[in-house]
């Protein structure tokens, strides 16, 4: 197919509304009679609520209602849940404490909502919130992992003694221990994976409207998966029946995982809209985002690698403490377990792996999936260990990796994953060539002569995308299936609508999904429309996260498309009086192969709907649906190399070069893929150099605004040099793998490996701020 099909860098269809200011985000929506909510949030990390006095606030101008946590409990609104059950090594289930949407008795992190004011205007709600008097009794707080697991530490939830939620293991402990006993060399490293805030530029927002006669709710919300929101809100939270709740996620200004979860504010807005009998809108401000959006990462890890005398890896042993915050968020338990430890084999042939993960409660914001979700943490552990091993064994880091690369596929790792395909040599070679790896020693010497410290860092990542199949994830504790659905509607005039359960919040689905149709039918993408993000329009879907939209979502569309094509061919054959097997589709026409007989798509579509002359027994219409459940994860992989220069006088690190060579399988739209990689790299580099959540000893969030939490800005980042190597994914008919998280997974280790190489000190924690680097240099 021509210029708009698969593989073409088509300019995005959705861009016009964004660049002209005509996007429609939740906060842009106004409903008749709409009121505004402002939450009253705990200033304490851990406290008992003695009393809440709302009487003065109720008298304030414009106030429609003041609602408290006790009222939401009295109305039997359900507690928030974690939807992935993890079993500890002793066979017991995870120890989940109750998380009410607003705290009735106890608060467990700064920012937890205790009450909400509903008023005519946002400012009136804010003003009245000042008049609500909450009387707290402060309790001792544990703001980090070490404090939470210390003997005698304050206990957060009675269900979780010692603040431990689960103690989970994977792999063969005995065999791994034996590998270490017989190892020629052992390398060990203590690693902190710093806590991050996703910080989508659009703050979370929700508008709820209750229609009393219909007993029907509508929720406009900043969600990556509106159908899952509807399912969870109805099945577990007792807010509305599923068929009486419409969830709409219109334009959403970035997610990065933080908008996968169901949050208290959405629940409260729905509940409150029924209580006050008016639509209720809540738009978070940036500090609320810092205080309440699920944070990411936050691991403490001890990692060890065993190698034989030929520098082949024989074993990997990892013990990780994961901070899940004050409550268990929707998918939190899966992140440091099945999304993390199952990727600890990296790109390497490691015969024995054993990992133990202990998840703990602390008095901090709940932690859940953030771009990469578990995979960045795993990749960082493996790639920092590889670098450390190379330095300890005094061998070239790239050569050590090559010696241990998996080269035979499929490859079964000792930690569940069966890698289907890859060519790790190809991507590392491409990256080494792009950065002129061979010429680095000369560049380092030259920099050294100029008084600069120059370092190079390699990072070879692998990730697992398109979490699946449903049967497998179900057996591992997942509470949902991870398929995707789609419907392809060919209208009577030949235009096409694609209804998809995937949600686009920056990924460009409105263009790439149309490119598939252009490829198959040979019609321009302007003739195709994507419908998504509305539970009243699309029957069901699992949403967008984990780089699943192409591998799972687009494949579902393809499956529906194949059914449409089969029916359309039958109609065309009937109309053209030809055999169905002789019909070929080209440039929007159904042709009889080897003849000049053809029928344009609109004529076939019209025939399907007029139904005047269809094959005997054929049902009218031309629309088909499909649910697609993949048979395996997909495994994107790549190699990143970063060259940095460090100023010993200031500790400031600057990029000399950053190259990325990724294997994402088939690229639908290379321009969009590269954009996804750029964004991921920025987040990975942000984690390495700039970003990090700081709580003080009392559990106050010190980094609660863009003035305190360093977001990467244009001047902090280099221009990236990207390239692609390709092995086609055998697990789906499109051969696609997924690209959204790659940059965030692979970049951090490349940066830290480069800086530690430059300064000759392997001990450096993220974010590697100039202050930390200076101290690492000067001791």
């Amino acid at each position: 197919m021509g210029v708009e099909g698969i593989g073409a860098s088509v300019v995005r269809k959705e861009d016009r509304r964004f660049i002209t200011g005509k996007g429609r985000y939740v906060d842009d929506i106004k409903l008749v009679g709409m009121t505004h909510a402002h939450f009253i949030r705990s200033p304490h990390a851990h406290a008992k609520i003695k009393s809440i006095d709302t009487s003065e606030a109720m008298k304030m101008p414009g106030v429609v209602g003041v609602l408290t946590g006790q009222q939401i409990v009295d109305d039997k609104i359900g507690n928030l849940i974690c939807g992935w059950a993890i079993t500890s090594k002793d066979g017991t289930g995870m120890k989940m404490g109750a998380w009410p949407a607003m705290a009735p008795e106890t608060v467990r992190f700064v920012g937890q909502a205790v009450a909400v004011v509903i008023a005519e205007t946002k400012n009136q709600a804010r003003d009245a919130a000042e008049a609500v008097v909450v009387n707290y009794e402060e309790l001792p707080a544990v703001p980090d992992i070490r404090a939470a697991i210390a003997p005698g530490a304050p206990q957060l939830h009675p269900e979780a003694p010692g603040n431990v939620i689960y103690d989970w293991t994977i792999g063969d402990e005995g065999a791994t221990d034996a590998a270490f006993k017989s190892a020629a060399n052992v390398v060990s490293l203590d690693i902190t994976n710093n806590r991050l805030v996703p910080n989508a530029m659009e703050p979370r927002a929700a508008i709820a409207e209750y229609n009393e006669p219909e007993e029907h709710f509508t929720l406009y919300t900043t969600s990556q998966n509106p159908h899952v929101a509807r399912l969870v809100l109805s099945a577990f939270y007792n807010i509305a029946q599923e068929h009486k709740l419409r969830v709409v996620a219109p334009d959403v200004g970035g997610g990065f995982g933080s908008k996968i979860f169901i949050y208290p504010e959405e629940m409260v807005a729905l509940w409150a809209s029924k209580k006050v009998g008016r639509p209720v809108k809540w738009t978070g401000d940036r500090t609320e985002a810092f205080l309440t959006d699920a944070h990411g990462r936050d691991h403490l890890t001890k990692a060890e690698m065993a190698l034989d005398k030929d520098n082949k890896i024989t074993g990997l042993r990892v013990k990780t403490y994961a901070n899940l915050g004050g409550y268990m968020s929707l998918f939190s338990s899966s992140v440091p377990t099945y999304l993390y430890a199952t990727l600890l084999s990296g790109q390497y042939n490691i015969p024995n792996i054993f990992a133990e993960v202990i998840s703990v409660y602390t008095n901090t914001v709940p932690v859940d999936a953030y771009r990469g979700a578990g995979r960045p943490e795993a990749s960082f552990v493996v790639e920092r260990l590889m670098e450390t091993a190379a330095r300890q064994l005094k061998v070239d880091p790239a050569e050590l990796r090559k010696k241990n690369f998996i080269t035979q596929f499929p490859h079964q790792t000792p930690v569940i994953m069966a890698y289907d395909i890859g060519d790790f040599h190809a991507s590392l070679d491409a990256a080494m060539k792009a950065i002129d790896y061979a010429g680095f020693p000369a560049r380092k010497a030259k920099a050294s002569s100029e008084g600069k410290l120059r370092g190079i860092g390699v990072s070879c990542y692998i990730e697992a995308c398109g979490i699946a199949p449903s049967k497998a994830v179900g057996s591992l504790g997942a509470g949902v299936g991870l398929w995707e659905s789609a419907e392809v509607r060919v209208n009577p005039v030949g235009t096409i609508e694609i209804l998809t359960g995937s949600h686009s919040h920056g990924q460009g689905h409105e263009t790439t999904f149309c490119q598939l149709i252009a490829e198959r039918l040979g019609v321009p993408i302007s003739q195709v429309q994507i419908v998504h993000g509305d539970t009243d329009k699309v029957q069901f879907g699992m949403g967008t996260y984990g780089s699943r939209s192409a591998a799972v979502g687009l494949t579902a569309i393809l499956k529906a498309m194949e059914k449409v094509e089969a029916k359309a061919k039958k109609i065309a054959a009937h109309q053209l009086e030809a055999s169905e097997n002789d019909i070929v589709i080209e440039n929007g026409e159904f042709k009889v192969a080897g003849t000049d007989k053809s029928l344009a798509l609109p004529m076939v579509a019209l025939a399907a709907y007029t139904a005047h002359n269809l094959p005997d027994g054929m049902e009218p219409g031309l629309k088909e649906g499909a649910f697609y459940d993949p048979t395996n994860f997909t495994f994107p992989a790549g190699a990143y190399i970063c060259e940095m220069e460090v100023d010993a006088g200031t500790g400031r690190s600057t990029f000399v070069n950053f190259v990325a060579a990724d294997d994402f399988g088939r690229l639908i739209n290379p321009m969009i893929v590269e954009g996804q990689v750029h964004g991921g790299l920025a987040q990975g580099i942000g984690q390495a150099l700039l970003e990090g959540v700081v709580y003080d000893a009392s559990g106050q969030l010190v980094t609660a605004s863009f003035m305190d939490y360093t977001m990467p800005r244009a001047d902090d980042l280099p221009s990236f040099k990207l390239s692609h190597t390709t092995t086609l994914c055998p697990g789906n008919p499109l051969g696609v793998k997924g690209c959204g998280e790659a940059g965030a997974i692979g970049a951090s280790a490349a940066v830290i490996n480069a800086i530690t190489d430059a300064i000759g000190n392997n001990k450096l924690e993220m974010p590697a701020t100039p202050d930390r680097v200076w101290h690492a240099i000067h001791g």
Binding site: I19, G21, K22, M201, G675, A682, M707, R713, A714, L717
Partner: protein, 162 residues
């Protein structure tokens, strides 16, 4: 409450607002110009950048009353009918946006950067430095920088033609 009169995108407008109302809220809530976005509380992110009398300003740091009598241009006011502003076209052509939320503020800042450097050649380092007041979480800035440099050329050509 006060009445604020100003010109927005070439049209004289008047709004009755609380004295504490910020320009961004006047634009969004009273004039329904929702292209200008709010991304932070601290004037760090730049999603709300508009032009006041031709200069890029964060509309969350300006009281509506302070803008009285001025000429305000928002993202909705820079295209000529169906014809995009060269900066808008360059953002689209270079894939300088993903979720689109920071984009209006980015474009308004970028136009101002190009105007202020209209005398000389704009380079990557300058664009990166001058974009420091705008945060994007999606694009890694790579394509935004490309778009601004591309637009600088297009704007020169457009100016020469006028």
């Amino acid at each position: 409450m006060s009445t604020v009169k100003l010109t927005v995108n070439g049209k004289a407008v008047s709004a009755e607002v609380e004295d504490r109302t910020l320009l961004v809220h006047l634009l969004r809530d009273h004039l329904n110009l929702t292209g200008t976005h709010v991304g932070c509380d601290t004037s760090q992110c730049g999603a709300c950048v508009v032009h006041i009398d031709g200069r890029a300003v964060k509309s969350c740091t300006v009281l509506a009353g302070q803008a009285a009598g001025s000429n305000v241009t928002t993202i909705e006011g820079i295209a000529k009918g169906d014809e995009l502003h060269p900066m808008q076209a360059a953002f689209r052509d270079n894939h300088g946006l993903q979720c689109g939320y920071c984009t209006p503020g980015m474009i308004m800042s970028a136009i101002d950067i190009v105007h202020r450097h209209s005398g000389g050649q704009l380079d990557e380092a300058t664009v990166r430095h001058e974009l420091e007041g705008n945060i994007c979480r999606c694009t890694g800035y790579h394509n935004i920088v490309k778009a601004v440099l591309d637009a600088a050329g297009r704007m020169k050509v457009a100016q020469a033609a006028e």
